[in-house]
Structures are given as structure tokens and as C-alpha cells.
């Protein structure tokens, strides 16, 4: 900007977080002398209502056109202060934040050092602020319909909420029926309701809903576009013929679920070797009234008299690369033990566990009830399952007794954990989503944004984000639904303004930026050999700008001039 800027600088005490290590008044007095600074103030909590009021008031009274807030990390409150200055008529991009908390007061002990550094940080922000340019705020229209990938409990519930709220929704399901893995369960704890009956209620409601389109035997194969305006290609397999559909949607909910852990990866338990060793899901089929035995527990043609359940198979196990807890196994094991005890009252049921995680509402009470039916819970992670005569022996240390025990068994049920579906990486790649260390899809913030992703308009529901029971899955699916519906209801979405800008004269078309862009916002025009940016997809991360060797991409709001001005100040104080 050409004319002389009028900058207001606001220094926050953050209670004592900053003021304990930084002499706030000294910083204020120093900053007031800097070129372009029209007013400098300090306040206990700038983020508080009165703190923000101070800024708003000054913008009017002093005719400020740039604001520097020196407080905590911009991650925390940049948006807060942007909104504040917008309220006073300034462009939101006429703000800079100097982080004097995380990067200063919290890492320094000496007050003089802290104060000197705070001065430098604020001065550099002032230098940048003078060069900031207003950016246009952009809004794009929204296609008011949802796309749900995965028709398990999570997908069905998310779709149902959208349909019920009046928005058309399409569910893409790989299998030939809705309901997913939960439909394969026999009963649900703690009330022992039939899983198919229970879940049939929501599946049925979706199937008959006029606003829901259900594509079975289908997969998502391609997605382009951005929040509010996605275009998806779905491939449907029907008796050998493959059809591609194009779908448009304003938001996408990913609910592709989990895979059960492959018990063969724990060979010491003899799964696949002994017919008496089965996984929990196989056991569900066995006790299901729709199963081959009509729900009777029969192994090798007879009713087992000694049943051992082994918990944490493939969970809490770094040796198989799954350090996490699968969250559901403790309770489904309790339920299965209960089912055995009910149908075979004479059977001796033992559960071998490490910790019993009965964490949900009514779970501990159910665990109490199950134990009281006469089930032995013994603490110990078994070492091996062996054959001895015509029976199996489960060898473990009983860590309460501090003794080794060999438990005879004619049925061993492995409580296999949850692992990310094999296709999760594919989905992540297709939608440019990230996976967390455990391989499940990564949410935007584990606490406060549990269903959002780093990509606007794409949300997570159910076990694709991490192991969950049905209750938590349903809650999370509904949560994803409302996040998806907010743009539908509003009709418009705001998109980032501080996006990249390609200078075609400088661009050599090398494509480095295209490879590095996490949002798929850059595409090479092969005819011109120049890079083209889709600013709606661009999140302003700056990776392209940093990568470009010829400086042909500028990240608006972080232009080289602005950044170098900041660097120069830091180097000269």
C-alpha cells in the first residue's frame, strides 16, 4: 500500500501469562514510537469482550486502517480479532498477530530477555502490517444435497438426519445391503435386543425416505470440486456390468467403517489352526438365531463345557502395530460371555483380560451383572493356545494369583479389535484426507472438531475415524450430519481469501507445487506449461509458494515483501 498507514497496536497481558515475563508497558511505549503506529495500548485480556471493544473504538476514533494484536498464537484468536475489526469496518486481512505468549513469555524465564523479544516480535508485525493488503472475501453457492460414502450404521444415520431435515442425500454402499457390520451381530448389550431388529429401524426409515437415494454394490471412484460443489463419480457393479454415475453434492460424509483385526496375525492363539478357536464376529454368527445352528452354541458337534474368551486380540498391541484400544471388545465380550452362560448354564466361562473397559453409560452396571452370572474374569494376557488331547489349553499367567494357569477349553473366542479398512488409504488419497498414526482418518481437532476434516465440506462418521460402539457411532454420525447441513441451510459458504496467486510470466510449469499441494488446488495446464490455481480449493497454506523455485507463486497475505519486511526488522533489532 502506498499511503501512510495508521496502525493500532494492542498488547495483551493474558492475565499473568504474558505480563509475568514481559514488561507490557515497556513494549507498549516502545511500539508507540515505531513508524506508522498511531496508537498503542495494553489490556489484561484482549480477547475478552471489553478488550475487543477497545480496538473497535480506536478504529473509529483514530481512523486506523491496520491493526496489530500482540497476544497468543494466531491459531487461537486470529479469527476472533478479524471478526472484531470487520465489525468496525476494516477488511479482515488488515490484521496481524504478534505471538508473544507461546513464542515468548512461555519460553523465556528472564524478564529482560522476554521484553526485548516481545518488542522485536511486535515491531516485526508492525512492519508487516504496513504492507498488508485488503483481500476480497469470497462466498460460493452450495449444492443442497449430501453424499454419504458407506452405508453402515454411521452412514445410514448421517443420511437419515439429512433426509429428515429436508435435504436430498445419496448413500453409496459397497455391499448389497445397508447396515454394515453391525447387522452381522446377534444381539446388542446390555438389553440383549436383536441387532438386526434394532438397526432395521433406522435402515428401514432411510430405505423408504423419499429424499434418500441408495446406491448398493457401489464405490466412490473419483471426487473433484470443493465445499458446496463436489462432483463425485460412483461406480455401480450390477451382475457383471459396471455403470459410472456422476453425482453432485454440497458435502460428503465419509463413513466407510473398519475391518476386524486378522486373528492370524497372532499365530500363538491358533486361529485358523484349531477349529475351536474363533473370532468374536464368527461367534456372533454362531449365536445368531439366523446362524447355521439357529443360535445354539455348538462346536465340533457338541456343546462346549469350557469356554475361554481372550481379550485385546490385536488391540493395545504394539507388536502388531496397533497400540490403540478398540473400545468395543470388552463390552461385546461381556455380552458374548453372558450369551454363553444363558444358553449353556453348566458351562464354565472364563474371560482373560488386561483391563476391563466398561466406560459407557450403563456399561459398568452390565459388567457387574454379567460377572454375577458366574463368569470368571481372570487378569492375564494369554501366551498361547495349545492342543492337549482332544481339548485346547489356554496358557496364561493369572496376574492376581501370580501363577501360571493352563485353562482347558473346548471353545476359545478371540476378541479381535478394529483396524482401519483396507480401503481407508485409498479414500484418504482420493479425498486428500490425512490418516492419524493409527491409520484411521484424522479429524480436524480431536477435542472440538471431532467430525470435521482438514478439507472443508468433508466429514467423518463412525469407525473410519477410530473404533466406536453403536451408540457413539450414531452420535458421531448425527454430528457429521449437522456439520454437513450447516452450509445447506445457509446456501453459501465462505472460502479462504488469502490464497495463492500464480505469476504466469515466472512460472516454468515444473509441477513441484502441484505435487506438494495438499488440497489439490493446483493443476498444470499442459498446453501452456503454466500452473493454474483453483482458489476455492486453496487453503492458503503456502506450501506451493515455499516450493516454487522461481518465486512464481505468491501467497496473498504472506507475500515475500511482507515476510521479508518482518525478517528484516527481526534482524536489525
Amino acid at each position: 500500500m502506498a499511503r501512510n498507514p495508521k496502525i493500532g497496536v494492542y498488547i495483551c497481558h493474558c492475565g499473568i501469562n504474558i505480563s509475568n515475563t514481559v514488561d507490557v508497558a515497556a513494549v507498549r511505549d516502545y511500539v508507540a514510537t515505531l513508524p506508522g503506529v498511531a496508537v498503542a495500548r495494553d489490556y489484561t485480556y484482549m480477547c475478552s469482550d471489553p478488550g475487543q471493544g477497545l480496538i473497535v473504538e480506536d478504529i473509529g476514533a483514530h481512523d486506523l486502517d491496520r491493526v496489530v494484536v500482540s497476544a497468543c498464537s494466531p491459531r487461537m484468536h486470529e479469527l476472533t480479532f478479524r471478526n472484531a475489526i470487520v465489525g468496525a469496518g476494516l477488511n479482515p486481512y488488515c490484521l496481524d498477530i504478534a505471538n508473544i505468549r507461546e513464542q515468548c513469555s512461555w519460553v523465556h524465564k528472564d524478564r529482560d530477555e522476554g521484553t526485548a523479544k516481545a518488542k522485536a516480535l511486535v515491531a516485526s508485525a508492525v512492519a508487516r502490517a504496513a504492507l498488508l493488503e485488503p483481500l476480497e472475501t469470497r462466498e460460493v453457492g452450495v449444492i443442497k444435497s449430501g453424499l454419504v460414502v458407506g452405508g453402515g450404521v454411521a452412514g445410514v444415520q448421517a443420511a437419515l438426519d439429512m433426509a429428515r431435515a429436508g435435504f436430498p442425500v445419496t448413500v453409496v454402499e459397497m455391499a448389497d445391503h445397508l447396515g454394515g457390520r453391525a447387522m452381522d451381530l446377534s444381539h446388542t448389550y446390555p438389553l440383549m435386543e436383536r441387532a438386526d431388529d434394532l438397526l432395521g429401524q433406522i435402515v428401514g426409515a432411510l430405505e423408504i425416505h423419499p429424499r434418500a437415494t441408495i446406491l448398493l454394490n457401489s464405490r466412490l471412484v473419483d471426487v473433484s470440486g470443493y465445499v458446496g460443489n463436489f462432483e463425485a463419480t460412483v461406480q455401480t457393479h450390477d451382475n457383471g456390468t459396471v455403470t459410472d454415475h456422476k453425482l453432485r453434492a454440497g458435502a460428503i460424509v465419509i463413513a466407510t467403517g473398519f475391518d476386524p483385526f486378522d486373528a492370524r496375525l497372532k499365530p500363538e492363539y491358533g486361529y485358523g489352526q484349531y477349529p475351536e478357536v474363533m473370532t468374536a464376529l464368527e461367534f456372533e454368527a454362531l449365536v445368531s438365531p439366523n446362524g447355521p445352528t439357529g443360535g445354539r452354541v455348538v462346536v465340533n458337534g457338541r456343546e462346549p463345557q469350557q469356554v475361554v474368551f481372550i481379550q485385546c486380540v490385536g488391540s493395545r498391541d504394539r507388536s502388531v502395530g496397533n497400540p490403540y484400544c478398540s473400545r468395543v471388545c470388552c463390552m461385546y465380550t461381556a455380552k458374548q460371555a453372558h450369551l454363553v452362560q444363558q444358553s449353556l448354564p453348566q458351562a464354565q466361562v472364563t474371560v482373560l483380560y488386561m483391563d476391563v473397559r466398561a466406560h459407557g453409560k450403563g456399561f459398568e452396571e452390565y459388567y457387574d451383572l454379567v460377572r454375577e452370572t458366574g463368569i470368571n474374569y481372570r487378569r492375564g494376557n494369554p501366551a498361547e493356545v495349545l492342543r492337549r488331547g482332544d481339548r485346547l489349553v489356554v496358557r496364561a499367567e493369572d496376574t492376581f494369583a501370580g501363577e501360571f494357569v493352563d485353562l482347558e477349553a473346548d471353545l476359545v473366542v478371540l476378541a479381535t479389535g478394529m483396524v482401519p479398512r483396507a480401503e481407508t488409504a485409498e479414500v484418504a488419497h482420493l479425498l486428500k484426507l490425512s490418516q492419524s498414526a493409527d491409520g484411521f482418518l484424522l479429524e480436524a481437532h480431536p477435542k472440538l472438531r471431532p467430525v470435521e476434516t482438514a478439507s472443508d465440506g468433508i466429514f467423518l462418521a463412525g469407525c473410519v475415524q477410530g473404533p466406536k460402539d453403536i451408540t457413539d457411532t450414531i452420535a458421531q454420525a448425527k454430528a457429521a450430519a449437522i456439520s454437513a447441513m450447516i452450509p445447506f441451510a445457509r446456501g453459501m459458504v465462505k472460502v479462504e481469501s488469502a490464497t495463492c496467486l500464480v505469476d504466469e510470466d515466472l512460472c516454468a510449469g515444473c509441477g513441484m507445487c502441484e505435487e506438494i499441494c495438499p488440497y489439490g488446488a493446483l493443476r498444470l495446464d499442459t498446453h501452456l506449461g503454466k500452473m493454474r490455481a483453483n482458489v476455492v480449493l486453496c487453503k492458503g497454506c503456502g506450501a506451493c509458494s515455499a516450493t516454487c523455485p522461481s518465486d512464481a507463486i505468491t501467497l496473498q497475505h504472506f507475500t515475500p515483501r511482507q515476510v521479508m519486511a518482518q525478517v528484516d526488522v527481526l534482524l536489525s533489532v
Binding site: 460377572r371 454375577e372 458366574g374 470368571n376 494369583a401
Partner: protein
């Protein structure tokens, strides 16, 4: 016990509720000095194929303070399990010698101390005490130990003094009083056809014939067993500390003599932990002029058992280690108490023994709350 029998035992006693948290074991005052471990006993009952109570002589170490059961977060009641297992030993006649004598004496003489029944009222001497035959507002149940033990008799005498000053209409049964059976029950003589059951039947019937409004007991053990296990036909059962506190509150008892002493109060398990009576004994002590009440660290819900309950008061010291009561005296001395007050004849006996063993008679006295109150009249 065989496997099936053991399983039935475990289910009947709700042992499957147990999650092996260890709270019972760590709560057990004896656990720190003997091998008694309720958690392990429960676990063996759950997972061992068989269980032989004979191999567990430590069952007799239990003082039946029931801290284990009171604190169990899953309501397992390991204390009762111990009693159940004792029952099995009793059925087999496997019972320590001194206890056999006590049980036999109760059966034959109505008291565990092998004393003649006719001497039971001797402690009254020339005090103004009437027999319950004519009916009274209060049935004062004296207790075997209090009736016969020279030291304990003083407590009854003090109480009579207090009752008379307060103008209480009370009576005793004298020779006709019999053992309440609390310890019999705790030794395992419970359930069908047990000594305790016959006691309740006969003795309960006998008591029902008398005319009274409320029963006041000297011993918390009697208080506990009458309150919870006898048919009282709607009549109230009070421990004397509760009754005294009531009399004080109603203004019927006033104290004039100053007791210029530092006193600490030892909560008897059967009064405190098992029946929640913590405040009344303290209210009585606080009402005594000049008395300085100091609390030991382990007081109220955390009070340490004196080791007298569950029949252990009649057992010759089987453990070479220090008695719990001795720890208790150390603690009382630690807070600078000149008097350790209690409200239970067993506690009194155990604590006095401990004071003697420690040779601390010059430093600390063991007194009953009633004695202190009477002294303050």
C-alpha cells in the same frame, strides 16, 4: 469344597461381583500382620477347582470389624464370606480350643466366661437398680463381659449412676440376662440349627415378655446383634452413648465437675463403622466441662480395630506381632492423650492389656465414656 459346591458357594455369596480391586485386603487391619487376605480368599473361591477351609487357619484371625465389606465398591461382603467359611470349620469341629470353651459356656451358662449365671447381677451391689419384671421405660442390657469382668463392671456402675441422676426409669434382668450371641454368630455359629439361631429363638421369646420401650446396651456388639438380628417387635435399641447424648440434649443430664484431661476417643467397630454411630459418643465427651477432646489420625470411618471382635478377645495371642490395640495406644500417646476413651467392653479389655504390656500405665488411662461422664457429675 468340591468344584460344584464351591461354585454354588461363590454365587450364593455374590463373589462373582468381585473385580479384585484389593480394597478389602488393604482395609483389613489384620492383613498387615497375618496372612489373612480377603481378596485372595475370594479369588480362590472363584477360580480354584476346590477349596479346603482347613488349610486356612488364618480365618480365625478375622476380628469381624467388617471394614472389608463396608468399603467394597462392588458390595461383595468378604467379611460375611469369612464367617461362612468359619461355619464350615465349626461344622467340622475345627475350632481353636479357647473358643470351644467359650461357646460351650454360652450354651451351658449363658455367658462365654465360664461364670455361674447366678452371679450375673452381682455388680449391682447396693446401687439403686430395679428388675425389669415390673416393667420399665428402659431395658438396660448389661452384657456378659460387663457383668462379670471386674474392670468392666465399673462401667455399668457408672451408667447406673448417670441413669439415676437423669431420672431414667430403667430395669435390668440380672441373673436372667443371657449372652446376646453376637460373637457366637461371628465365630461361624450361624444359619440353620446353629447355636446362634437357637439363642435368638429362645432368648428373643423370653425378652419379648418384658415390658419396656427401648433397650440400651453397654456393648456395641450387643447393640448390633439386637438391632439387626433379633425380633424387637418395634422396640428401639440404643447404645448407651446414643442414649446419654439424648439425655444431655434434652437437658436431663448436667455436668459440674471439671475433667481437666486430654482425652481421645477410640471408635469401636461395631458402633462406628458397622452402625455409623460416631457423633454421639463425641457429643457426650464434648459436654463434659474442662475435657479436651483430641482426635487420633485414625478415627471415625478410619478407626483401627482393637482386635477384640469376632471372638478374638478370648483367644490366646496367636500372633507374635504387636497387637493392634498396642498400635492404638501408641497413636493415642502420639496425640498427647492422657485418657483413651472407648465405649465397648472388648475395646476396653484389649486397650488395657496393651497399656499394661507397654508399661504405660503412668502415661495413659483407658476409660469408658460412661466413666468419664459419671466422673463429671
Amino acid at each position: 469344597m468340591e468344584a460344584t459346591e464351591l461354585r454354588t458357594f461363590a454365587i450364593d455369596n455374590h463373589l462373582f461381583r468381585c473385580i479384585q480391586c484389593g480394597k478389602c485386603a488393604a482395609s483389613c487391619p489384620m492383613g498387615f500382620k497375618t496372612i489373612l487376605n480377603p481378596r485372595k480368599l475370594v479369588y480362590q473361591a472363584l477360580v480354584a477347582g476346590e477349596f479346603d477351609p482347613k488349610a486356612h487357619q488364618e480365618l480365625w484371625d478375622c476380628t469381624t470389624c467388617f471394614t472389608c465389606s463396608i468399603r467394597c465398591p462392588k458390595e461383595v461382603d468378604p467379611g460375611n464370606m469369612v464367617i461362612q467359611l468359619r461355619s464350615l470349620l465349626v461344622q467340622d469341629g475345627r475350632i481353636p480350643g479357647t473358643l470351644t470353651t467359650a461357646l460351650k459356656s454360652i450354651f451351658e451358662r449363658g455367658n462365654p466366661l465360664v461364670m455361674p449365671a447366678r452371679d450375673r447381677g452381682a455388680w449391682v451391689g447396693d446401687l439403686d437398680v430395679k428388675h425389669l419384671d415390673d416393667g420399665a421405660d428402659v431395658f438396660y442390657f448389661v452384657c456378659c463381659t460387663t457383668s462379670y469382668d471386674m474392670r468392666a463392671q465399673k462401667v455399668a456402675q457408672a451408667l447406673v449412676k448417670l441413669f439415676n441422676v437423669a431420672g431414667v426409669d430403667f430395669g435390668i434382668l440380672g441373673e436372667a440376662e443371657r449372652c446376646c450371641g453376637s460373637e457366637v454368630r461371628r465365630l461361624g455359629e450361624q444359619g440353620e440349627d446353629s447355636l446362634f439361631e437357637s439363642l435368638v429363638e429362645e432368648w428373643g421369646e423370653e425378652m419379648a415378655d418384658y415390658s419396656y420401650q427401648r433397650m440400651v446396651t453397654t456393648s456395641p456388639h450387643c447393640y448390633d446383634v439386637f438391632k439387626h438380628h433379633y425380633p424387637m417387635n418395634g422396640r428401639e435399641v440404643l447404645h448407651y452413648t446414643q442414649y446419654l447424648a439424648q439425655l444431655i440434649q434434652d437437658g436431663k443430664l448436667q455436668f459440674t465437675n471439671k475433667i481437666e484431661r486430654r482425652v481421645t476417643y477410640h471408635d469401636p467397630c461395631y458402633l462406628g463403622k458397622q452402625n455409623g454411630v460416631y457423633d454421639e459418643p463425641r457429643a457426650v465427651l464434648k459436654a463434659l466441662p474442662g475435657l479436651k477432646l483430641v482426635e487420633m489420625d485414625r478415627s471415625r470411618e478410619k478407626s483401627l480395630c482393637c482386635e477384640g471382635g469376632g471372638g478374638r478377645v478370648w483367644v490366646e495371642d496367636p500372633n507374635p506381632e504387636k497387637k493392634l490395640a498396642a498400635w492404638r495406644i501408641d497413636e493415642a500417646l502420639g496425640v498427647g492423650a492422657e485418657v483413651i476413651a472407648t465405649a465397648c467392653p472388648f475395646c476396653m479389655q484389649m486397650l488395657e492389656d496393651a497399656v499394661r504390656t507397654a508399661g504405660a500405665q503412668d502415661k495413659i488411662k483407658v476409660l469408658d465414656v460412661a466413666e468419664l461422664a459419671a466422673e463429671a457429675l
